[in-house]
């Protein structure tokens, strides 16, 4: 059974807070992911699952799987069971377009989703929740729509295959079969329940209250009659950051009542801020993050000046004690983005035992990130408005499983 939702309301500042609109650790410490998994009631993604993925896809599992970035799941094993039997699934992920400035933390779910699309050869729907940002961030409708299109370009630049990907914005797409599912879901969730899951109160406007079904229904194939006609049993896998879990706990609760399969989830931890302070990278603090528009110089500066180091204060002390890998941000970032497992191991060993200095680690990180950002920028420059239109067109995807 799913975890009792009442617990969420008790999350005060003495406890860590993790929900779609706020992420903060307890008392300025780190996020306790074990506690989170316990509290939310999802499962750890263990080695055996990762091995299984490798066997089924005949390729090395994505670096985010190997390094435990995507570390929790719900029913991922069932998805793999079905896949082994020849039953495919589709992917669903999304973004709330609240700002034009995308940082690396934003790209993580998309990078992983792209890998899943390629490895399993399955289609993908991407939801841009412009309506949500319009309501929560008090943007005008036009501005949130504009941001949605801008963000779509960065998303496309991550390398999704247009013949297998449908991107949509809520303001454009809600209606028809999608809306019918929204109403079906809404009927199953009482006001009290919504307040319990999402922390709504009497002060919140009714727009917010009615939003959760919008994020829930892309989990159901019947919401996309142009993509999955007649495939009502097609299962859905949702790669997302773990703070989105509440939406999908609600969805999984409602699904059986509507005769739909529950969506499966595969969840990631948060990408830490450069200065390491509790929580995650934030779009409102430019120095907490590396942006996809940063130049090589910006990246070098930010890493050198703001990346929290676990190295010791003096070279002598460092050689003696080694670096504190637990808190060191450059090593953490490398564990996200440095593909080569053996190189990472080497760095961790040398740095942790004091033979490598912080400067070297930072230099390597700067190289890795600069290459990534540069590649993204090139791809982004090639994304035209026509390409966005093509990705967002309501059209069939005949080769979506090839």
């Amino acid at each position: 059974m799913e975890v009792d939702k009442k617990d969420e309301r008790e999350a005060e500042s003495s406890e860590q807070v993790v929900n779609p609109w706020e992420v903060s650790a307890k008392d300025g410490g780190k996020i306790d992911y074990d506690k989170l998994i316990d509290k939310f009631g999802c499962q750890r993604l263990d080695e055996s699952l990762i091995d299984r993925v490798q066997r089924l896809t005949s390729r090395q599992p994505h670096v985010f799987l190997r390094r435990g970035v995507f570390f929790a799941h719900r029913d991922f094993n069932e998805i793999l069971d079905a896949y082994e039997n020849g039953d495919k699934f589709y992917l669903y992920t999304g973004r709330g377009p609240s700002s034009e400035a995308l940082h690396l933390g934003h790209l993580i779910p998309f990078m992983f989703t792209k890998y899943l699309q390629e490895a399993f050869k399955v289609p993908l729907v991407i939801q841009l929740t412009d309506d949500e940002k319009c309501m929560w961030k008090n943007l005008s409708v036009e501005e949130s729509q504009r941001l949605a299109r801008e963000n779509a370009k960065d998303i496309i630049a991550c390398g999704f295959d247009v013949t297998k990907t449908f991107i949509f914005s809520d303001f454009d797409y809600v209606g028809g079969a999608f809306y019918k599912n929204m109403v079906r879901v809404a009927k199953c969730v009482t006001l009290n329940k919504a307040m319990g899951i999402f922390g709504f109160s009497g002060e919140d406007h009714i727009g917010k209250l009615s939003f959760p079904p919008v994020q829930a229904v892309p989990s159901f194939p019947s919401s996309f009659p142009h993509l999955f006609p007649g495939k009502d049993n097609l299962r859905c896998l949702i790669p997302c950051a773990i703070d989105q879990d509440p939406y999908f706990r609600m969805t999984r609760d409602v699904a059986p009542r509507l005769g739909y399969s529950k969506p499966a989830l595969i969840e990631s931890s948060f990408f830490p801020a450069l200065q390491a302070k509790n929580g995650k990278m934030s779009a409102s603090d430019p120095n907490s993050a590396i942006y996809v528009t940063d130049t090589a110089k910006d990246i070098k500066n930010k890493i050198n000046r703001y990346a929290f180091s676990g190295g010791q204060d003096s070279v002598e002390k460092h050689k003696e004690l080694g670096a504190n890998l637990e808190v060191d941000i450059p090593v953490k970032y490398l564990s996200f983005f440095l593909e080569d497992d053996s190189e990472l191991e080497h760095i961790k060993k040398e740095y942790g035992e004091g033979r490598m200095l912080t400067g070297e680690v930072k230099k390597r990180l700067t190289e890795v990130l600069t290459e990534m950002v540069e590649r993204h920028r090139r791809a982004r420059a090639a994304v035209t408005d026509e390409m966005v239109d093509a990705f967002m067109a309501v059209r069939p995807l005949p080769s979506m499983f090839e």
Partner: protein, 307 residues
């Protein structure tokens, strides 16, 4: 190519827009213009041609005494504090098809300026008539703003009036109020030096807000075509099969040359595979997406067979 002043004036007449025309020697600044056109004919305007870091362009047309604070404007557009500056001279010719000292709201009549955002001073609305150059700086035209509105609407533009002196708070919970006027397309204008888009920051031009944008006295560059991102300023490896293959060959050879350390050919090929596969897959995906997008564009504009 670009609209001429006569074509523009003809168009105004066709639209039955009432205007008065004043001819004078070419003028580069508002002060000079004021010598020939007295304020009784209408309110003079200063016209700024601006550019942001993402190659998007703006014409800001204001009353001469309106204070236009570039920092505030930049923030209100959602571009941060230093996000906007005077556009380079080449852009004037390429995008607006006018010469120095001739920035004018009328310039948006040109197809090349379709992605340029036009912001008009709200204070114009209180004037009986306002004065602009009709695409040439040896003529000034005074007309009522309703006339300008009519003209803009005739070319499919919604006139946008803005309180240019306002300084609203822009922050986490207060969205920049002018951000909606940021063009959705950026434009690439061939630059004087061959800069890639990663290196930006042209030297700040010390131009006071009263003087019309005057760049250095260099002759303007020979006409390059105005390219939108939709054309070939995007890495052509994504559009052109030969460039695609060239990119692959270049990267492979470079890696071969740098990695050959006397190891076996098998080990070398393994390294090549490992290091290049993800890059090339990405390249191929973008190639595919570009082809599909072009096909989609053609398909949506396809005309049914004539029977």
């Amino acid at each position: 190519m670009g609209f001429s002043k006569d074509q523009l004036l003809d168009r105004l007449q066709e639209l039955e827009i009432d205007y008065s025309k004043y001819e004078h020697p070419p003028v580069l600044t508002v002060e000079e213009q004021a010598k020939y056109v007295s304020s009784s004919e209408g309110a003079l305007s200063k016209n700024l041609f601006l550019k942001d870091k993402k190659h998007r362009y703006y014409i800001v047309s204001a009353m001469v005494d309106t204070k236009v604070d570039m920092k505030v404007l930049s923030q209100r557009l959602g571009l941060g504090k230093g996000g906007i500056r005077m556009a380079p001279e080449e852009a004037l010719g390429e995008l607006l098809q006018v010469s120095l000292g001739c920035v004018t709201p009328f310039a948006v009549v040109n197809e090349s300026a379709r992605d340029v955002s036009l912001l008009l001073d709200q204070k114009f609305k209180n004037q009986t008539r306002c004065i602009f150059h009709p695409l040439s700086n040896d003529v000034s035209v005074s007309l009522n703003m309703l006339g300008l509105d009519k003209f803009l609407k005739s070319i499919g533009r919604d006139p946008v009036y803005v309180d240019l002196e306002a300084n609203p708070v822009v922050g986490k919970d207060q969205a920049p109020d002018l951000a909606v006027y940021v063009p959705s397309n950026s434009v690439v204008v061939p630059e004087v030096s061959n800069k890639t888009s990663t290196i930006q920051n042209p030297p700040p031009k010390s131009v006071s807000a009263d003087v019309k944008p005057v760049a250095s006295a260099k002759p303007s560059k020979p006409a390059g075509k105005v390219k939108s991102i939709a054309d070939n300023s995007a890495p052509s490896a994504y559009k052109n099969p030969e460039k695609f293959v060239e990119e692959i060959m270049d990267k492979t050879s470079a890696l071969l040359l740098s990695e050959t350390k006397g190891e076996s050919v098998e080990a070398l090929t393994e390294t090549l595979r490992k290091r290049l596969t993800s890059d090339f897959t990405h390249l191929a995906i973008m190639y595919k997406n570009t082809a599909y997008a072009e096909g989609f564009y053609a398909g949506t504009r396809h005309q049914p067979k004539r029977l």
